[in-house]
Point group: C2
Chain length 547, copies 2
Amino acid sequence: MNKKVLIVGGVAGGASAAARLRRLDETAEIVMFERDEYISFANCGLPYYIGETIKDRNKLLVQTPEAMKARFNIDVRINSEVTGIDAKNKKVTVASKTNGNYEESYDYLILSPGGKAIRPNIPGINSDKIFTLRNIPDTDHIKAYVDRKGINSAVVIGGGFIGVEMAENLKERGMKVTLVEAAPHILAPFDSDMVVMAEKEMVESGVGLVLGDGVKSFADNGNQVQVTLNSDTKIDADMIILAIGVSPDTAFLKESGLEFGPRGHIVVNEKMETNLEGVYAVGDAIEVVDYITKQQTAIALAGPANKQGRIAADNVAGLYSTYKGTQGSSILKVFGLTAASTGANERTLQRANMPYKVIYVHPVSHASYYPGAIPMSLKLIFNEEGTVLGAQGIGYDGVDKRIDVIATAIRFNGTVDDLAELELSYAPPFSSAKDPVNMAGFVAQNVLAGRMDVVAWKDIENYSSQDYILLDVRTEMEYSNGHLDGAMNIPVDSLRERLNELDKSKTIVEYCQVGLRGYIAARILLQNGFKVVNVTGGYKTSAMIGY
Amino acid sequence: MNKKVLIVGGVAGGASAAARLRRLDETAEIVMFERDEYISFANCGLPYYIGETIKDRNKLLVQTPEAMKARFNIDVRINSEVTGIDAKNKKVTVASKTNGNYEESYDYLILSPGGKAIRPNIPGINSDKIFTLRNIPDTDHIKAYVDRKGINSAVVIGGGFIGVEMAENLKERGMKVTLVEAAPHILAPFDSDMVVMAEKEMVESGVGLVLGDGVKSFADNGNQVQVTLNSDTKIDADMIILAIGVSPDTAFLKESGLEFGPRGHIVVNEKMETNLEGVYAVGDAIEVVDYITKQQTAIALAGPANKQGRIAADNVAGLYSTYKGTQGSSILKVFGLTAASTGANERTLQRANMPYKVIYVHPVSHASYYPGAIPMSLKLIFNEEGTVLGAQGIGYDGVDKRIDVIATAIRFNGTVDDLAELELSYAPPFSSAKDPVNMAGFVAQNVLAGRMDVVAWKDIENYSSQDYILLDVRTEMEYSNGHLDGAMNIPVDSLRERLNELDKSKTIVEYCQVGLRGYIAARILLQNGFKVVNVTGGYKTSAMIGY
Ligand SMILES: Cc1cc2nc3c(=O)[nH]c(=O)nc-3n(C[C@H](O)[C@H](O)[C@H](O)COP(=O)(O)OP(=O)(O)OC[C@H]3O[C@@H](n4cnc5c(N)ncnc54)[C@H](O)[C@@H]3O)c2cc1C
Ligand SMILES: Cc1cc2nc3c(=O)[nH]c(=O)nc-3n(C[C@H](O)[C@H](O)[C@H](O)COP(=O)(O)OP(=O)(O)OC[C@H]3O[C@@H](n4cnc5c(N)ncnc54)[C@H](O)[C@@H]3O)c2cc1C
Ligand SMILES: CC(C)(COP(=O)(O)OP(=O)(O)OC[C@H]1O[C@@H](n2cnc3c(N)ncnc32)[C@H](O)[C@@H]1OP(=O)(O)O)[C@@H](O)C(=O)NCCC(=O)NCCS
Ligand SMILES: CC(C)(COP(=O)(O)OP(=O)(O)OC[C@H]1O[C@@H](n2cnc3c(N)ncnc32)[C@H](O)[C@@H]1OP(=O)(O)O)[C@@H](O)C(=O)NCCC(=O)NCCS
């Protein structure tokens, strides 16, 4: 007998599962339920359509019900909400806008209901000038509003990916935009020392940034909304975008007997199977394993949702296919800047009680003698055994490449030695003979081998100023253009001749511009019997984080 | 006692070894001999300086002897040619332009003499209008000549990386350029089915391309050189660039007792040690292991040379450090195009008698709905066990990223399953939820699992036309805009209804535009009892290779 497979949710995870399943099984009966009118749309493109970078609305609609029928023989039922599961009898209940309520039986059920924007219960939240963004109707709604005459200012609440994208896209539309983030920094996948660059880019691009201040209440005065922050700061704007995160859209599953995680995510095994027989779940609504910490986590990203949909379909079709956990690889355009990350950041590792080491490099995107070379900042996180745990990159050209290369190495449990040895493709327009990833590997090798002790700027306060000498090893010119308070200057190229100016009883905390000359100076000092630490990332990093 | 280390060659391998060694050992005596006047120059930038993309000659000089002295305390001796080794007494003989001939003893010797341009012994080769390009003096020489009034045409002999770069850069200078290649195609790291795109780009950019025709003789008539090819074609030009490859610059080592490979490369072990005690060798002059075939090979690339220099220094300093073989990862700008490859190509695998499978995908550089998305062609080569053996990419934006990601996977002996599962960073300006690398992994998985039989265009002749039906599954519009001779048309979206038009006794050879719809059609046909093969890469690949 042919399998009957129901799918709940018709976008990233659901539509991917449907298409894959049909390719694997021409005879299965496949029904895909979608609550809204649209399936298979480009969630990730929505902000850019509002910002008018994407001009043609049709481009957002990757598939239509008709096309899914013609190509994949899928019975797509739009405007059809699944309202519950009867797991014992293998049935779902459906509320259809056109066909009323009915039941549908299944052999297999794949759940991909996604996540819904969080709308906290604070005063004034019900103003119709407060928008969230998840789907095409939300997009139409926001865009129509922005297109109106007289809509000139917006407050975006939340500095996650969607918040930052919306701030940028509304700014592109010529609006006055303020982004409010309750945490000390935006973009949680990044550590604060890296994300400051993205914050700077936003501010320089004209977005007002309010950090470390949450929303207390909204007040709609008819014309505008006034946002009151916890600090009692008040901001008036024509519209509000609320982007403080998503929560699993799983309310309809409450009574199903499904097992949920602490924050309401569906619990699945490696094969995407839930605790209920024949029921699979994928996408934003599920809990997954963090590839690095091995702890349960949730990740609202399209790559994982698509792949999990494919894996669920494989297993329904009788193939063995598993999801091995998420690295959280993610990337974002922040005006001119690219910010990307993979693996764990410092906060995650601290929470998981996993010890780690950190280095920074600031290599150029390609050979410095070839036009257009531009520096990036790369942060590499690894453990005592050398295993790479995470990386963050901020810059312009080529940041995506380096983070994806490191993401690949992490997938194979690669070490910093592996990064040092990677043979990547090189010609002057594309890279350097020592690629930035190799360079990060070299520096990490040196730290692990004790060839250089490094300290991060934020940890410098651990040294009592009595016990150390702050030494700037850049040129006299660089030093006179700006240096740290209390630093003395001996350029690395004259260090060997001027060792007698330094006190061997003290620790020498030295820095250069990015860390390279500081490393060379450290090697000279160390081998001459000095105690020395090199400030990783150099003066550039100190400037970045406003040390 | 302090080590005394001599280094022969002061550029990629040599200077890297010197710098690393000093960082590891502040007390070693390090002497670096360079035959020419310049050290540490950007070999890879030379063509772009001639082409005036790099405008400032100083940018080519990464280090000077004075700076190497100041920073690394290296005794740099330029204009000093090492003329021989006396391994028994651990001495070298030196011919210095300023200090005459002398001997210098060593505890350790690192050889990085590089490769010299091959100048075959054919009639007319000694014309002073025939140039080769290796170093700064060559560059000055060529540039001065090109800068002259009346120099308007060039023939470049050899379609390797340097030949193609020179053809492009001379074209950028407004010259009439013809590139002559004796092999059927340029750029040997690529298979012929991929490289045709680069050839097309060159021709469309105005470079004359003569393939499969070698040079028989040159004749300098005072004004111009006439090149006579094996086919007796004659081409006149104001200058000739000879770029038919490099051979190890090891003549001075003939009597040293060093072991050489069949083509004159120095034989080393993993630690870069030669057969002579205390003597190491790195760079273009050595033989290395091919990471894929495990056979001995040679590779003239800067990344390996730099890394090998660092490894040799490590071992001299008493650290254990190894070179694990070359993947030959390489990349080239061909006018607007990017061509990159890693691992083995079909020719190499055939020579090594290693069975393999091939798939092609033509994904877009980033989400198709976001402006600027542009297709690339990716070829993936893997074996029956799924191990990735090689990849080639040609396109525009993002080709370098995908080849570097696959290069990383190859380094870890990754499989096509690994490629399918890689979690790469995605946002619309940078990639797709299923990255091109994931996509290549998916397609390869399907081929290995027998979910789709693929055939490459070049192998279609294996099917007798009696036994197969050629089926075009694209839309009627695409079909009428151009299709293969004898193909019938059933669009994939109506295939299920029109199965009765096909003869089950014959093999159905079907194609779409790039392979995706062909795959879907193949799944439909296969599961309905047809014998079917999908032409990998689709109509696009057929057009590419001029099928
Ligand atoms: C504005 C925006 C930008 C984004 N940008 C990126 C990005 O750049 N990169 C990235 O990786 N990710 C991005 N994402 C996240 C990505 O889109 C999601 O991770 C992905 O779509 C999740 O897939 P899913 O199938 O789990 O859920 P969804 O794609 O949200 O699909 C779930 C569908 O299920 C339907 N549904 C829910 N409950 C029911 C029910 N009971 N019955 C019937 N139907 C139901 C919903 O209507 C919805 O259409 C973005 C998301 C948004 C909203
Ligand atoms: C035009 C050009 C473009 C290139 N582009 C790229 C590219 O885009 N990507 C890439 O990866 N690679 C590229 N390469 C190759 C790369 O430059 C080489 O692989 C690399 O420089 C090899 O390093 P090496 O140390 O072995 O030799 P070299 O860098 O050539 O250095 C050898 C030095 O040794 C000196 N020497 C030789 N014999 C003696 C002796 N007996 N005594 C004293 N000195 C001696 C020579 O004068 C020479 O300066 C390019 C090369 C050229 C010429
Ligand atoms: C110029 C040249 C001598 C430099 O050699 P080098 O000092 O080893 O190389 P780099 O300047 O790239 O610096 C790399 C070193 O700095 C360290 N480093 C880089 N960034 C750092 C940072 N931010 N903090 C600390 N250390 C850093 C690396 O760890 C590495 O040191 P290690 O090898 O001891 O681990 C050599 O590369 C050369 O001659 N190049 C030109 C010739 C050439 O390569 N041609 C072919 C390509 S065109
Ligand atoms: C549109 C949608 C239904 C497509 O699903 P899909 O058919 O699985 O995905 P694609 O069109 O990318 O095609 C991938 C399939 O084609 C195959 N393929 C791709 N290129 C191929 C080629 N050249 N030759 C042969 N097969 C090819 C792949 O192997 C894969 O098949 P498999 O899963 O059976 O191995 C689904 O991705 C979707 O709904 N997307 C929009 C929503 C979304 O993802 N939003 C978040 C991002 S904005």
